[in-house]
Symmetry: C2
Subunit: 268 residues, 2 copies
Amino acid sequence: MTYCVGLYLNDGLVMASDSRTNAGVDYISSYSKLHLFQPAPDRYFILLAAGNLATTQEVLNRIRRDLDQAVDPKPSPFQLVPGPTLLNVNYLFEAATYVGQLVVAVQNEHGPALRQAGAAPEASFILGGQIAGQPHGLFLIYPQGNAIAATPETPCLQIGESKYGKPALDHIAHPGLSLADGARLCLVSLVGTARSNLTVGPPFEVALCPRDQLAPAQRLRLDEDSPELAVIRQSWNESLRQAFYALPHFSWEQGAQPPVAPAAIGPS
Amino acid sequence: MTYCVGLYLNDGLVMASDSRTNAGVDYISSYSKLHLFQPAPDRYFILLAAGNLATTQEVLNRIRRDLDQAVDPKPSPFQLVPGPTLLNVNYLFEAATYVGQLVVAVQNEHGPALRQAGAAPEASFILGGQIAGQPHGLFLIYPQGNAIAATPETPCLQIGESKYGKPALDHIAHPGLSLADGARLCLVSLVGTARSNLTVGPPFEVALCPRDQLAPAQRLRLDEDSPELAVIRQSWNESLRQAFYALPHFSWEQGAQPPVAPAAIGPS
């Protein structure tokens, strides 16, 4: 499985992913799922990938080939039709449309054989980035090729094993978070998910992308034994335990605060 | 959807559920999913129910009919075969086996018509309780009729929309929790789930069942506007926010603690 999360903040973007991939519990490996494209100084794109690994890798390879061919066309045994690339799109939503078209094309190519073998060809992506003169943006690209954008009301987008890590986001995320706070929030969400689901695990990767800077300012890769990850994990676990034991007591307990119109029906 | 959770603690059992039921987002209603059976002074059983509402209701009705027929047999238009009831089982695992048999029977009866309509007949249960002379116990009964018991190593069992609420359990649950702490933990897990998924919601029901007491000592029903739920929710939310802002800063931030072998790769 995989868990990726992107935050659309006033100050820019934070994009984060785990690195665990599994085909069954007896074949677990590590692949980066955070992919940076900087085809020209006026633009950058980050893609987070979840789903069928062969699909996501082929989509990424086609993106790279399209960029190569745009700059230095080579004869190809495949029928390559000139079209959009990350270099010639003018808007971020066009980049999302382009990636969506690639996702659908790759799935269509391999889907029949995969489905016959009981496997799913689907993949989904989160695309973040900025093109000079345009605002920064964040899109979730569905396996069907369509996409939705993050907004100030819904600043978090998730793909993969998203449920375990959602309550932390729902509690804390808002567009006014700093990029560093956003990175910590993503790590908290990733750490909680990895604790509850073996198929999500470190290294955790995080990119912090300040608005209008047209490139990530920081890129973290936190391994299982990273001290920086250890202190965040330890602080969060300890605070959660303290928060739990600080919860107000029920009215019938010793040491309870004065009862606040208890809702207990009492002994049944 | 539904979310139910049971805790198997040294001091006894805590069993909790939400009360929201939905058939599509435009048909949301409220049903209790926590069902207490006390057929004799030497035993009690609590069933938490998730899945197809018609299936769970028919299973519960058959349990009640079996108890009625055991005490005061009446002629029935249905072919009722004398067999196990919650009154004549000698072990909690026999009660789980009995409920599992009912689940499978009801699903088999209605499954074909439901599947033809694109609906699922499946239901699952958590069974907790105690029979005099036996230890208290907690079982998860699968739609296939088999069951697993909670153990000190795995004291939490969940059914329904279980992922959102699992990290809180994984962080905090251990068999040494008091029943009141267990009840608070279940509420925290329920509150977080309800915040992230609209199909899970109050009233939240919680039963606290001390070991060897053979009956619940407390039974709570916390409505949306219950002050007791409000103070728990507010305390938890506030503590989570504090925990988040108390996380150690990254080494490159102002106000950072002395760096602890930072894992940052730096500007990419």
